[in-house]
């Protein structure tokens, strides 16, 4: 079987990594800053491997690949909106 033709390979591989990065970056905006104003920078970075692992195992073990794809897309869009809003002069 050609692994590159497998949708699950692309979802668990590059898509999961990119989504984990986007979630981490988005958390810099929505995660509470804390008294030192650094929690929103440090904690998402510390949690990055965990975020990736959760997304990875979900994408790998979910039998309904379409559902996994839709969930990934929804999380991506949500964080992209937060990031765009931030950079275009929102919060």
């Amino acid at each position: 079987m050609n692994i590159l033709a497998s949708a699950r390979f692309w979802l668990t591989g590059p898509a999961t990594f990119l989504l984990a990065v986007i979630v981490m970056l988005g958390m810099a905006i929505w995660f509470p800053k804390g008294e030192a104003q650094v929690d929103n920078i440090v904690l998402p970075m510390v949690a990055f491997p965990l975020i990736w692992a959760i997304l990875f195992f979900y994408a790998y073990l979910e039998r309904n690949l379409k559902r996994a794809g839709w969930i990934f897309l929804a999380i991506t869009l949500l964080h992209m909106v937060i990031l765009l809003n931030h950079f275009l002069g929102g919060t």
Partner: protein, 542 residues
Amino acid sequence: MIKLPQQETKSLIALHGWSAVLLGFLLYAVVATGTVAVLSEEIEHWSVGHVREGNPLTADVNSIVGKLAPTVDPEFLEEVGIGHSARGNLQLFFHTHRENESGQIEDYGVQFEIDPTTHAVLNERLGTGLELFRTDPYDALGRFLVNIHTELHMPRPWGLLLTGILGLAMLVAAVSGFMMHRHLFKEMFVLRRKQSDVLEQRDVHTVAGTWGLPFAFILAFTGSFFSFAGSFGFPAMAMVAFGGDQEAMIRTVIGVPESKSEQQADFTNINLIIDDAYQRSGQNPEFASISHYGMDDAKITLFLPPAESKLAPKQYEYSGVSGDFIREKAIVGTVPSLGATAFALIAPLHFGDFAGLLSKAVWVALGFASCYVILTGFSLWIERRRDSHRWHLFERFTLVFGIGLPVAMLASAVGYTLSSVVKINPNLLVPWSFIIVSMLCILGGIVVRNYHTLKIILLGLCTIFCILVPTLRIVSGGPLWVTALQQQNISVAVIDSVLIISAIFSLQQLRRALLKRKSVRSSDTEDAAHSKTDNFNTESIA
């Protein structure tokens, strides 16, 4: 353990195996060098041999700084880093910050190595921080091994990204291994010796893997954090959180003053500040940083090791003019926070240095177990595919890589000990020894046809190098254990002992390999005799 449906269990077994086969060799390189890197400080002291006793920051630092400051370019007074050199002397780096060709901010200045007792200048060098700290000949060996672990000697940020991905692969192997074994806790105690090779290897793999599971998870998690945070995490997060305003980020994360003062002022007595830090924490600083030396906004930050029964190190900030204690600084940010606590815990958990040599010994043992898990995992994978010729090649590669890497690491240590004898810079001899011996191991893998003979040669080399390294160290003028212990340098005895234990282990494996070859040969002879008899009988009947 976790009762998953059969389809998911099968998927996890495939994931566990293929992720290891595809990334396992690089992961093995990172884990094996990481196991050695746990002892990097001891390796540095072992390399130097005659290390000066005590903490040089308890010497008369104030006089030394006061004497050197007027001699350097005033620009370099922007920041002064005070620590210890590999030889245990005082090391001062007067520097400024400048933008390099690739647009990154770097330290540039003059570095002094000072005898803390006589105040004599032993060494003076001008350059960037990276140039100066990456070319010290005394820590060439430790630095070389640590760099394989952190960046696989690849350019930034690619090496860090790759080791980060390998950390994630280790996380996958650990989590999938945990999920796919239905009777994990029962199997932790099952070792079926005198059964078939496959069963024995499976048991060893499961037992070592299960006991090392929490450790593998912690290391994979913290290692990935270090790699990704260093390569893109910090700049990307700062870009988002501060909209690209680097100065705002530095103010928040490090807490430097918003503007520089141009008003000159007498510098305080740093010796009194170090005494005060000892009174407050019961610890002497390992490093001190002075910002804006000689100006009225000068500050001193002292970096103290974790107090007894604590995991996180401490930072104290003092005024560089009045000498007043300003605050205890968080590792990240200017006041304590959850983020700073989490950040402070990652390093001791990854390096295993939170309880001195004891915790380091545990980390080394578990690192060794992780290497064993990777190699036995490969053996299991091969054992189940014995019929395919290409997996025989994979088996040879596993052997060459599995034993060849420790042999090449030992060769780099041989190169280091020889460097003082042949008068070649260890920064050259250490990597070249590693490369040449790696090439020889690969060549052996191609030329030597018999698998068992190849194993015997590699294990023989490993044993010889383990004995050769401490012998050469003493022959080339290194201290004897008694002398080193009198100088309070226990690292010499520790590293030599590790090498001797490794030699005994390697010798034991060599003996097993010799017996295995003998039994294979005798069974081959018996098979040949049987087939001869069978042929004779067939011909007689015919």
